[in-house]
Symmetry: C2
Subunit: 112 residues, 2 copies
């Protein structure tokens, strides 16, 4: 679900992790060091991002290499694109809406 992804990215450290991973895959330790947070917190944040479908892991010996998955970002982008088309059409129809309210009010007055 989109709101799961949003929620995951709503935490500043996690958004920073995503920014970091834009430059390529990284290990937990590298991420923790970059963000200046402790390793367990890094692991926890990575877990949440992973469970939200934003990341994927590859185990290499001792290490875990995390990288971004493309799909969720693609999906989000599609969603936003679907906004663009509507933008001019419906969004700024405040005038129309006000008139609508106005006519409802008149109806109501006619009844009384």
């Amino acid at each position: 679900m989109k709101s799961t992804m949003m929620k995951a990215l709503g935490e500043p450290n996690r958004l920073q992790i995503v920014e970091l991973l834009r430059s390529g895959p990284l290990t937990v330790g590298e991420i923790a060091e970059s963000l200046e947070i402790r390793q367990p917190q890094a692991s926890k944040h990575l877990r949440i991002l992973n469970e939200a479908g934003i990341l994927e892991v590859q185990a290499v010996a001792n290490r875990r290499i995390y990288k971004l998955r493309q799909e969720p970002f693609q999906e989000l982008d599609d969603w936003l694109t679907s906004f663009q088309s509507i933008w001019e059409e419906k969004l700024d129809r405040l005038d129309a809406y006000l008139e609508e309210l106005q006519s409802k009010k008149i109806d109501q007055e006619e009844k009384s």
Copy 2:
């Protein structure tokens, strides 16, 4: 900040409000009714969305008409677009990364 917007949209009701407002401006009461939540909760969620810069209000007599603002969505879209270019380049360079790790390991062995 982007994470503020994400955080705001990370709450399911609030994301639904945004979906609703895609069809045009609405009053608090209409939103509450649509989402089947109580008016005070609707007001609270709208407040958070508003403070995140996602909405704007127009007072008309008794009512408050909320509508989407374009800018934050545009900004988010730009961010996502900036992902696309990086996508093929750096993201899937796991091979390269592994080799890098490998060479570091060799360095280390040379020292001992």
